[in-house]
């Protein structure tokens, strides 16, 4: 065992990477000897490289490799979790002892424990999450410069910039448990963004926006020019924004802000919020939540998806879950623990950061697209609000009460009339989901959660 750990310490090359599996097995054996009845080990390592360019010159360059190991033990029905970035033999031995001692200090929890042994992911699935493309420092600086230059060149009113960024990262996850499960996968990500600032030539007032793309494959990224131009377009159109009078109107959420509504839905169907009674959707399984044209999926097996993974944070196979179908709430998102609390099976949604207990997280969570373009949807609104920005945290997940800062455009006669800011939109998420009138055809993933444009029948807009 110590030989393997010595190799791990050296921290380079493929030999050391292979040894993570051995390291996991060794720790599991050690945990058993220290009194653990069950255990699992999660090891994550990776490297990141990020470049920020501002006004054409490099502002910040960051490079790092890191590794982290998390251990969870069960002593009967008691459990504890620990983590460390120190992989030396002594430190890891101490970690095992401490974790078992910590578990003995908490109370028994009848539903705690690993998933059943026969449920573990078996097939070795390649979801195409990894791209071996390595960009050198100069290439990456060049891409960040291009995305910013494109944004700065589009319009004279773009006068400044918070910077153009290009990031690349890759990593590996190894998960092993005392059932004998041992899985691993590699993944990578490439992202690009730019945040231009536009100045109103008359008033001197400034507006900032940004645009971005993120992909697991370098070749799939939008061009820096396309990202930069979109960022500039989104920024310049905000100039001259004003407040509007307080009133109740239809609200159209653009795809980005509609994605945040899907994020709210995702939190509300999380098993942990539900069994604690901390979700407004507690007890709503099988009930109608939205009109019949609303369908929501969580799909962990989208090839190349940003939220895809072959197995979840407990080693259970991921899958495609229909969360809402025909407007009816069909499934919660669950891991083993929250599922047992609710008397339901896990949906393979255990999300795990090293050193934490599993929680529930989305894989690729999305509202199925409709047929209409965003333009068509805006055309149906005589007077209302088109939301492009939301700020703040004014959501009560227990009641569904919703009140957030917003900015966007006022719609008059089916057209975007002028930009608006310093307003709030308020309602209740239950009413908002029930009030979905139209769904756009513009679904695109730039993260784990996505939505097309959504129109909601009516919300309270507060301004003057």
């Amino acid at each position: 065992m110590s030989a393997d750990l010595e190799r791990t310490r050296s921290w380079s090359g493929s030999e050391e990477r292979r040894s993570f599996a051995d390291l996991a097995s060794d720790l599991l054996a050690k945990a058993k000897r220290s009194g653990a009845t069950e255990a699992d080990v999660l090891i994550a390592d990776g490297e990141t490289f990020s470049v920020q360019v501002r006004l054409g010159t490099v502002d910040r360059l960051t490079k790092a490799r890191e590794k982290h190991l998390g251990l969870r033990v069960f002593v009967g029905k008691r459990s504890a979790s620990t983590s460390t970035s120190d992989f030396t033999t002594d430190s890891l031995s101490q970690l095992v002892t401490e974790t078992c001692a910590l578990a003995k200090a908490v109370v028994e929890d009848q539903v705690s424990g690993l998933p059943a042994a026969d449920q573990m992911a078996e097939e070795r699935l390649d979801l195409d999450l990894y791209d071996s493309t390595r960009l050198n420092t100069e290439q990456q600086i060049e891409l960040a410069k291009r995305v910013e230059a494109a944004a700065m060149s589009m319009d004279d009113r773009v006068t400044n910039s918070e910077g153009g960024d290009f990031d690349s990262s890759s990593g590996r996850v190894v998960l092993g448990n005392s059932h004998g499960f041992l899985g691993e996968y590699q993944s990578s990500s490439f992202s690009m963004s730019v945040s231009p600032i536009a100045t109103d030539p008359e008033t001197g007032a400034m507006q900032r926006d940004y645009w971005y793309d993120v992909q697991r494959k370098f070749a799939k990224l939008d061009s820096p020019e396309a990202v930069g131009l979109e960022a500039a377009r989104r920024t310049v159109r905000k100039l001259g924004a004003k407040k509007v009078a307080t009133q109740r109107v239809p609200v159209v959420f653009d795809a980005e802000t509609a994605g945040s509504l899907m994020g709210n839905l995702c939190s509300a169907v999380s098993g942990y919020a539900l069994y604690k009674g901390a979700s407004f959707l507690a007890g709503q399984l099988g009930k109608s939540l939205a009109p019949e044209y609303v369908t929501v999926y969580d799909d962990g097996r989208v090839v190349g998806g940003l939220g895809s993974r072959p197995f979840d944070g407990e080693g259970l196979p991921t899958r495609k879950t229909t969360v809402v179908e025909g407007g009816v709430l069909k499934s919660y998102l669950l891991d083993t623990y929250s599922g047992r609390k609710l008397g339901l099976a896990s949906t393979g949604n255990a999300s795990r950061s090293v050193g934490e207990n599993p929680s529930v997280g989305p894989t690729n969570f999305f509202l199925a697209p409709g047929a209409k373009t965003a333009q068509d949807i805006i055309k149906t609104v005589k007077e209302g609000l088109y939301v492009t920005d939301l700020i703040g945290f004014g959501i009560n997940m227990v009641t569904g009460d919703y009140s957030r800062g917003a900015a966007g455009f006022w719609i008059e006669g089916g057209e975007l009339a002028y930009p608006v800011e310093e307003i709030t939109i308020a309602g209740n998420l239950k009413d908002m989901f029930a009030g979905i009138e139209m769904i756009g055809n513009d679904l695109k993933f730039r993260g784990r959660i996505a939505s097309p444009t959504v129109k909601i029948a009516e919300m309270m807009v507060a301004g003057n």
Binding site: K63, S83, T84, E98, V106, N357, G392, E422, T424
Partner: protein, 476 residues
């Protein structure tokens, strides 16, 4: 010059650290530093009357930084061997576009911070798990005893024990030990099929005894239960622009969002802040004086030194309504040629230093809090808040009330549901017409996020009257 105790805990010699510094501080590099950090965090949590989760996390590493003009090169490693330090140094100095080679570094002055704002022995910071467990059990019992409509109590106790050491090319080798803890309670109340939530918490750079002083932990439990029960009877919040009275303490999040972020030097150097050209100008009414103060003993936002080894201080941001200063780190103070305020902070060795707030608050005024409420005919009285956020560039900010009441005819009447308040940073404080004599700092729960980095902060406020701000309720 004595040997710095932190050197030993990182298993390094002064020679090794200086050697690595020399490697990164090449000719074209203006400034370089190494930040060594070791952190142990522990958490115990309870729900459904069971203390069933315990976690512990250990991390250690070094962040290396080189700045040249406006450029920053940064690398970090979770290994502290000589080879790892050199590798990180080579990455960091890439930014300066300089040939490799070494430069002589001034022999550093080893020192301890001049202040000791949190004199807590390790033994006091480390609490036996059994003691944490009984604390949480007592909280559960107290909240349920408060009202039988409390159906679930969730509580967690988190501690962090951080040892840091900073070695800089301007000749400082300095270390600090930074304990931090926080107790958080959330209650769910249920009545006639309606559920509501209430939260309360607090902490600081304090020992475990803090939570027992005056049975503070039981008060936290009752406050969380009280808010949940109160919200059961809350009516719809009003919508539109109206006068708002903010209570003392945590509502100081207003200052953090409305002006604090906008006065961080990086945004002003880049001229991307709504406050960029307002130094010396009026941005608040003359009853407003606002400071950022990292030197208050035991507070969550306090530090003996910032993460560049600079002693923290008390910085006047706004004096009787006039914008007086920005908060700075070394890079921005140097580039802008303005005073260094000791606000260079980072979440961990894995993140770069940014100018960040410590404890930000408004000084007490002369008004009687009761009189402030009586002065409002129809408006909102907000005493507790969730989070907030700001758009630095256009200055629009929000913060969301979690406990608020209607003011009708100069009297506090019915509780209303949570609502977001939105305003414009450079304007909102000009609408503050009354400031109470009851300055209160928050209980110690704030965590500020910037560029993906979280750092602990504090806020404070006396009772104030804002003549007009937009309230995001649902009732017109």
């Amino acid at each position: 010059m004595g040997e710095l105790v932190q050197l030993t805990s990182f298993g390094l010699t002064e020679g090794e650290v200086l050697g690595a510094l020399g490697r990164v501080k090449v000719r074209n590099v203006d400034y370089a530093d190494f930040y060594f950090e070791s952190c142990v965090s522990e958490s115990v949590s309870m729900e459904e009357s069971l203390v069933k989760r315990a976690t512990k996390s250990v991390s250690q590493g070094v962040g290396v930084r080189a700045t040249a003009g406006e450029k920053t090169g940064f690398a970090y490693s979770d290994e502290l061997t000589k080879k790892d330090l050199e590798l990180a140094a080579d990455t960091a100095r890439y930014i300066a576009n300089s040939p490799s080679g070494t430069e002589t570094i001034p022999v550093p002055v080893c020192r301890r911070p001049t202040r000791d704002l949190y004199p807590i022995e390790r033994a006091q910071a480390e609490v036996a798990t059994a003691d944490r467990v009984s604390l949480l059990n007592a909280i559960d019992a107290e909240a349920r005893r408060y009202d039988s409509r409390i159906k679930n109590v969730m509580a967690s106790f988190n501690t962090e024990y951080k040892v840091v050491m900073v070695a800089t090319s301007d000749g400082t080798l300095i270390g600090d030990v930074q304990p931090l803890s926080r107790l958080q309670v959330t209650c769910i109340a249920e009545e006639n099929g309606q559920r509501q939530v209430g939260s309360f918490g607090g902490g600081g750079r304090v020992g475990f005894v803090f939570y027992h002083e005056g049975d503070r932990y039981l008060r936290f439990a009752r406050e969380a239960a009280r808010e949940a029960i109160l919200n059961l009877s809350a009516v719809e919040a009003p919508a539109g622009a109206m006068p708002v009275v903010l209570g003392g303490g945590w509502p100081g999040i207003l200052l953090h969002e409305a002006i604090g972020h906008g006065l961080e030097a990086d945004f002003n150097r880049k001229k991307t802040s709504a406050f960029s050209n307002l130094l010396g100008k009026r941005v608040a009414s003359d009853v407003c004086t606002i400071v950022d103060d990292g030197t208050i003993p035991g507070r969550r936002g306090s530090l003996n030194m910032d993460d560049e080894g600079t002693a923290t201080g008390r910085t006047i941001l706004i004096e009787q309504g006039i914008l007086r200063g920005y908060i700075t780190d070394k890079l921005n103070a140097r580039l802008m040629d303005i005073p260094l305020t000791g606000n260079g902070r980072r979440e961990s060795y894995q993140s770069v230093v940014l100018p960040r707030m410590t404890n930000t608050f408004m000084l007490a005024g002369t008004s009687d809090p009761e009189e402030i409420i009586r002065s409002v005919d129809r408006g909102l009285y907000a005493v507790s808040f969730g989070g907030g956020q700001v758009d630095i560039t256009n200055g629009k900010f929000v913060f969301s009330a979690s406990e608020a009441y209607l003011i009708e005819g100069g009297k506090v009447t019915r509780p209303v549901k949570g609502a977001t308040l939105i305003g414009s940073g450079p304007e909102i404080l000009t609408k503050v017409s009354m400031v109470g004599h009851d300055l209160k700092l928050d209980e110690g729960i704030g965590t500020c996020g910037k560029e993906g980095q979280s750092v602990p902060v504090g806020v404070g406020l006396p009772t104030i009257r804002i003549d007009e701000i937009t309230v995001g309720g649902t009732q017109s």
